[in-house]
């Protein structure tokens, strides 16, 4: 799965997610990447998020929407909201989860419960950051 979130110079955010799903899936299986609130969500007032990992649990946990809800209603920072969404229902909904997210102020979060989180970001004219491993 791949995805992106962005904040532009006009203060608008957007999110996109795209995937080929999981190897050996049944024909017709739908994953989270095309589900609003599951694999992606964006709202100028709150945040933008794109998810990756096990689609079935991301859909059941409404993962992108959890980041949104934790920001909007519990007023958590984007970093804490993303971490809480990664951990939410982890006992019942077990599987890989990764999230990239940012708020309208440009604060960003990258988190996962995996050792691999292929990701990159760039803020303004600062140097880009690129990694394959979560721990880097």
């Amino acid at each position: 799965t791949v995805g992106a979130v962005a904040l532009d110079q006009h203060g608008n955010v957007a999110a996109a997610t795209s995937t080929g799903g999981i190897e050996g899936k049944l024909r017709g299986r739908v994953g989270d990447s095309c589900i609003f609130g599951g694999g992606a969500l964006a709202n100028n007032e709150v945040c933008a998020a794109s998810c990756t990992g096990d689609g079935e649990i991301i859909m059941l946990a409404s993962l992108a929407h959890e980041v949104y809800a934790l920001r909007k209603y519990r007023k958590l920072s984007i970093t804490k909201a993303t971490r809480a969404a990664i951990e939410m229902y982890a006992d019942k909904l077990q599987g890989d989860r990764g999230i990239i997210a940012l708020d309208p102020a440009g604060n960003l979060a990258i988190d996962s419960n995996t050792n691999v989180m292929r990701c990159a970001y760039r803020v303004d004219e600062d140097a880009p950051f690129v990694t394959v491993w979560k721990a880097e």
């Binding site: 791949v2 110079q9 996109a16 080929g20 024909r27 739908v30 890989d96």
Partner: protein, 169 residues
């Protein structure tokens, strides 16, 4: 003009570090960097977040190292079926597509659904008919299939057959 930021991902997984040798890690980083730059350049010029996320995701869809577009996983029947969505935080409009077998860039189709379709989510043949009507690039199914994914699929098929066989005397 305010701050601009782009973040991209190319998948999260738990795996043995030995399955990603240094040369593959470098290729993955290069692919991520290219996609990041495709989106960042749009933002830097004053373009929209919507255009930036679309450009970044299209870059990753075109790179066979990532599981989207070309290089996507096989289903049990040995076919590729892709899906995507895009959302505009300004207008709260969105577009989504699934069950695609021929569309080169699913995220581009999702954007067109958002902007030019009275519906929000199109699937399978209907989505592909809409793609054709919008003049999107379609590809032969072979375009999406890579040798690495084919081999993984073969391993799964053979494992499933072996498991099934073990259930019988």
């Amino acid at each position: 003009m305010g701050k601009y930021v782009i973040i991209i991902h190319g998948g999260a997984v738990n795996t043995d570090p030995g399955t990603i040798p240094p040369e593959k890690e470098e290729q993955l980083k290069k692919g991520l960097h290219n996609a990041l730059t495709a989106g960042w350049e749009i933002l830097q010029r004053g373009g929209t977040a919507l255009d930036a996320v679309e450009a970044a995701v299209m870059s990753l869809e075109d790179n066979e190292l990532f599981n989207a577009g070309r290089g996507a996983m096989f289903n049990l029947n040995g076919e590729v079926e892709t899906e995507a969505s895009i959302i505009d935080g300004l207008t709260l409009r969105g577009g989504a597509v699934s069950g695609l077998k021929l569309v080169k860039n699913p995220v581009r189709l999702a954007r067109l659904v958002m902007e030019k379709c009275k519906h929000t989510f199109l699937t399978a043949e209907g989505a592909q008919e809409f793609a054709l009507a919008q003049g999107l690039t379609l590809q032969d199914p072979s375009y999406f299939k890579t040798e690495e994914q084919r081999q993984e699929w073969l391993d799964i098929i053979q494992e499933a057959r072996a498991e099934h066989a073990n259930k019988h005397d």
